[in-house]
Subunit: 260 residues, 4 copies
């Protein structure tokens, strides 16, 4: 039975609208409209425990999963790739324990952490961004998540030549991915996949056309995922009334052999 | 540069409607309506190479990715969990290198292979099914994919007590998951997630209500993913006309501490 | 050129988030966070005119369309059938000028008004509800919209025998439509369609099964419509971030000849 | 009780995959893989009747509704606006009995018939197309549907000046609607809506931007509708596996007063 310890990130679940991720520290307090949660009461408790807030509301303390880091709290996060999209991109990328992966732009590092959790300590993730400020934030997040062993963050504009070992996959989340196709293609192993994330149909068009014209990629696909959540009561199942109608489009392509 | 060798599974891409996964063998031939592809010509070629069919059609030879195994060819596959759903379930499960995972029913093993590729050689996947025939098929697929080191397949009805070490996550794809909640809850570590996959809203209702009543799970969610593919031509971007309108619903829940 | 007159309902458009339907009266004022709109300035203006609020914000005054009545303002509306659903139901019903139509429950009358606008002054709409309070509200709305000539509202529980001439179509929006199938079937002309609106999948199941068992209906279909709105800027087209994820399900069936 | 007569269009329903619209004529035969249906047996039968094919399969004979004309059979139809889209466009247009409406391009006339069925014999629909061949086909369809009294079809390119009375609404389904905005705006009454239908996001962008730049329209919206059908069996409700993933986008705008 795993125990929550000082310094651990924990996921506190009161109800659907009150879910928090925080890092345990002696004397810490989480304030909610359903009462306070005192960190000292959590430290030493097994994960999965039922506790009570200062107002007597039941709450669960869980060990956080990948998707919980998207919540405000432990990580300083700005704009993110949603779990449904990160999940599909990682799946299509084929990466697993030991993979060599590239990522740009890193932003505050949410996709970075998800990739790092998949490639394991044998893997290597090279993350690039042109904003030093974003990278600083990402570095803190990577360190707190315990992934400093496998993540290398570097200020670099990937639209220019990239200095890195041959990679098993590349994730591209920048405003003009079509300008990075050539430089990225040069660091991708032959047959390895590229995953691009863009919010508009215009970017989808430019990226797909540039991939085709590059002759460096084939098997090019553009996707969109819609996630619906359901509310379930006895004799009353239905999708929830409000949903996220759009996050971004995912483009997939495979690197072909260079000299053709 | 990685080379395709005899015995390797390869993914052959002619065009959007002609994509094949096959295992290379001396003298082997892939017959298509765009001509034959002779295995002997592929053996020794680097992945990503452009080749020609006997009719002169260009084709690419790629190293297969996770999602390519869903194609007919190398694997004997019946009903499957689609990549979009497998991706989201694996992502939400939090599994990574070294995880201990349970799965039932295994079927012919497509989700099994995806999970196995994520947990790595340090991980362990215990797969259960009540059909010996399905398990035989899954065993062949696991072996061919090179995952015999981490996958243990066993004929067992998970609605009854399960004999296995404490698990980090459990994937449940059986017709009546509500009948397996208690037995599965007993092998899940406290705080660990359960992922359920069902095709109908009636099964969603029964499963979610049973999870709530069990008091063994909290933070219960039911989801549905819709995947749209886009066709991209210059000045003409639009979703493709036909899509898969439904695959299944995904239910997520976290194990809470037993003694409450 | 049509002129806005005292007593007319008008639709005032300031921007996407500030759209109002109100009835013009001497001395009337519409207060918004972009300034006041004085009714006296609107009276006598042609529809389509550009005006200014007291803060100098440009605003348009339009003649309201069917869907504008869904806005708060002129009509007292509670729960409604959304335009996308009302549109599809009316379309599938085949009604047009002169049709004889039944509706239950009427509620505050938004679907009533839409149907009334389609059947014209030669048509006849019989609206039923079990709530006198709802009917009073609907009566006010019908009168204000000028449809008293064709709409007859009556307190009645349509799960019991309905006293009305043979109808060309029936719209059913009550919690337990399966209990009204027999009584409704008796007032529907042979071959005429029934349209049912329900929010949950459980109600879809019960209704469709009851329709089949009744032997009074055939060609039974259940639908769901998802509406996405797009935001369009130069070089940046994308769906809006948030959308309505669920309103209700639409069931369609055709009355078959009684004596079989 | 209405009787099917010689010359009437009828909708014959055998099962979900066997639905036909045909016009009854003495000696006529409908051939299906479930047997023949002899027109002579249908003539004189009340609508809603259960009949049998020559193989003994039960079949219903219904009076066709608007949406049934989309089927092959009585109408010669090529590319069409789907019922879900036609329904929403007509609804948003505000048209009803007596409306004056414009439409271009008419094509083979499916939207034409739907509009004509709504505006009634007091209404007037001016339909334009640049293809004489399409118009000929549309004319036959309009005549067979009995709408010659209210529909005027004319060969004309609506990107050039349109000679017609002031209109209550205009439906535009041509490849480059942005080139017709000025000419259409001149025949639309102030405050009246324009509805545009286009298949690609690029056309959505060009149309919306042109509408904004014209200063002749405000309250501009772009929509997309997704229709899912459900299959319902006892204890097994779920969306059908395959669906239409895309038809077209709908753009709505209101004409503002000309002199501004």
């Amino acid at each position: 039975m795993e125990i929550a310890r000082e310094g651990d990130p924990v996921y506190i679940y009161i109800d659907e609208k009150r879910r928090f991720v925080t890092r345990l520290r002696r004397g810490g307090v989480l304030g909610t409209d359903k009462g306070f949660v005192y960190h000292d009461e959590l430290i030493g408790k097994p994960y999965g425990s039922l506790i009570k807030t200062s107002s007597g509301c039941p709450a669960y303390i869980f060990k956080p999963l990948r998707q919980d880091y998207y919540s405000r709290g432990i990580l300083r996060v700005t704009q993110v790739i949603y779990p449904k999209d990160a999940a599909f991109m990682i799946y299509l990328s084929g990466i697993g324990p030991g993979s060599r992966v590239g990522e740009a732009g890193v932003g505050t590092g949410t996709l970075t952490l998800a990739i790092a959790s998949i490639i394991g300590s044998e893997g290597k993730l090279y993350g690039f961004d042109i904003s030093e400020k974003a990278l600083e934030c990402a570095r803190v997040n990577v360190e707190k998540a315990g992934f400093s062993d496998r993540v290398i963050l570097k200020k670099h504009d990937v639209r220019e030549e990239i200095d890195v070992e041959p990679l098993d996959a590349f994730f591209l989340d920048i405003p003009d991915p079509w300008n990075a196709i050539i430089s990225v293609s040069k660091v991708l192993k032959s047959s390895a996949p590229l995953l691009v994330y863009v919010p508009t149909t215009n970017q989808v068009e430019k990226t797909v056309l540039a991939l085709r014209e590059s002759k460096a990629f084939a098997d090019i696909h553009a996707y969109e995922l819609l996630l619906r959540e359901y509310q379930v009561e006895k004799d009353a199942v239905r999708p929830v009334t409000r949903m996220i109608g759009h996050t971004g489009y995912i483009i997939f392509a495979r690197r072909v052999l260079a000299t053709q």
